[in-house]
Amino acid sequence: MTFEPQVLAFCCNWCGYSAADQAGVAKLEYPAGVNIVRLMCTGMMDPYYVLRAFERGFDGVMVVGCHIGSCHYKSGNLQARDEMARVTTVLRALGLGEGRLVMDAASASEGSRFATLANEFVEKMRRLGPSPLREVVAR
């Protein structure tokens, strides 16, 4: 059975989430393993969510927000960038490797960009292989 990466994408309401909607409307496809969580702003990104995502078995985490300078709430994405940089050091120490967490931007009209980001990230996860924390725990 081929490995199907499971990815969590945190998207901000104004840009990332709308870009994902746009991708759907334009009938651009990306793997169903991309699961989207809606936040009002990437400024809501807490390192805890990233770690929880990996602990729950996701192979990769994306954060998709507004372009720098265009944050709907002025500087939310700047804080997100700092928090993601900090949690990256933790991920490195945990051995979860480079590249399993990315932060990028796609504005509300950039549906094709979202689809490209999603497709490319899933491909990258396929190459990196399943997360070492991936075990299905029976409940």
């Binding site: 759907g24 169903a32 809606r38 969510y49 995502a53 078995g57 002025k74 804080q79």
Partner: protein, 666 residues
Amino acid sequence: MTGQRKIGVFICHCGGNISDVVDVKAVREFAEKEDDVAIATDVRFMCANEGQERLQKEIREKGLDGVVVACCTPKMYEDLFRAKAAEAGMNPYLLEIANIREQCSYAHRHEPDKATAKAKRIVKGQVEKVRRLKPLEVKTAAIQPGVAVIGGGIAGIHASILLANLGHKVTLIEKSPTIGGNMARSVKTFPTDDCAMCTLSPKMNEVYNHPNVELLTYAEVKEAKRSPGKWTLTVEKKPRYVTDACIGCDRCTERCPVSTAKSPIQVDSEWDQGLAKRKAIYLPFPQALPQIWTIDPDHCFYFLKNGACRVCSMVCPAKAIDFAMKPETATVEVGAVIVATGYREYDPTPLAHYAYGRHPDVVTQMQFARMLDPMGPTKGEAVRRSTGKPADTIAMVQCVGSRGAPGDPNVHEYCSRVCCMVAVKHAQLIKKARPETEVYILYNDLRAYGKGFEEYYARSMELGVKYIRGLPGTVTPDGGKVLVDVDDMLTGRRLRIPADLVVLSAALEPNPVEGLLASLHLDRTADGFVKEYHAKINPTETAVKGVFVAGCAQGPKDITDTIAQAGAAAMSAAVFLGSGQMTLNPLVAEVDPALCRACDRCTEVCEFDAVHVDPDSLVAVIDETACTGCGKCGVVCPTGAISVRQFTKPQILASIDALAPMAVVP
């Protein structure tokens, strides 16, 4: 945790858009088995009557206290479904949308099995979130009646009149001693060549006399404080040293020794743009309102020489001079603020190759307008300032300070929009008044975009105005002339124009009101003008609730567009005030006082000044009208005291867990 809620799950077929890919029946069966789900059903069209009626029916009959609608993106119908739920008696904020169309059936059309599995996860995630939602009270704040309009130019005047006519109390605040702004010194307006003062003056009078308008001139807003539904402005009124007993007889000005031939103190007239002098006691221009003279203490012998000169006071028949006047502070409380602080002309001095400031015969268009005023310093004649003789050859240079290279700190990147038409206007006025004058307009593009503009421009060519495509490399004084060297792009030749007068079409810049804007929490766009809410769809509101913008404060524009925008701003402000109540968006931050450590980290990251630590209770307090719900505070709070409603940690974690591979996937 479970067994306490009654959640309804409604899955939409979307007429095939969803059901052609996602097995909605399977999703329904899955949802039925989830904890706390009282009913799970699928419907062909949730947004149509059948869906909405079903939603309401189930809410009423089963007493649902949570709903998940699995359908298209929440951006489409979240508000509609919430309103319908509220009608049926459920708190609207207990309803969440599961996006299984744009982000599922559309995006995974060729993987129906995986799409179905994903749809189940998405529905589960929202059920988990709904289980943790609390009903939210929709609060309102009373909006303080009254509007403050900051800036007494045509934009501020027009907006004030409209609002006052609607019955609102308007406080019009103007920094200089008179209202009127830049339009008052424009002489004529394009493309109709109406006399500017003749069209402006009636409006000035209307606003001055309006019973609903309180006019504060020679007054500046020092600080703006926001509280729910209200703006409190601290206004500093400068002393004129002349009371309103002034009858406007002008005797004081006649006798004032400042700026006379032998006087050691000389003052340039702001009104005449430096082309003439004024006295220390003065009225800016004849139609100024209020018609009260003003003493400029920085250039007055009384103030500079310890009471040495009191001539004005001695000759004043109305005894209106009062040297003891003090500045006054006024507090203005309003619900809405309109920023109409206008523009000023760019100073071309840094552009050394244009010789502005180095030679008296290089002037700007605003200075040139003063020359064209029959009541002005040169009695309406375009003259050389160096000799006083009429100018035979006039060269106008466009785009001075505008459309510059990005990164050049001396110029602006934007186009100032109106200077092409100003040049055309001035050029054809000269040609009409003195046809033998040679007038050249050196341009890059000639932007005649508005109603009647192209025709106006064509007429100017008929009158003999010469248009040369090219901007001068140098402007060099030589002998009695000012030599303008330019490459004519259309003929390919290098021209040297021996001008008597060079008129620079200088850029429009926003007035230096950064402190005021910061106080109002207003941003500026990259060009320095006030940032509107949205450049296309909402150019008169700002991101700050209750603050509107009109006129050149928002960007360069002509009088027509200014008046249109001022009207729109007045309307927006009226609509805002008219409701009397502001609905507070409940999806904002909330503080649990038992957990707050008063460490101040939330205050440090908040962009909107929406949270402060109360010094008495030592607990953070949110201003719900200012909070936008961005959530930055929640991330930096060490104790978890502060969080945004509907986006709390447990709620988001529930979504993450439900979507995770480690969840049980049937």
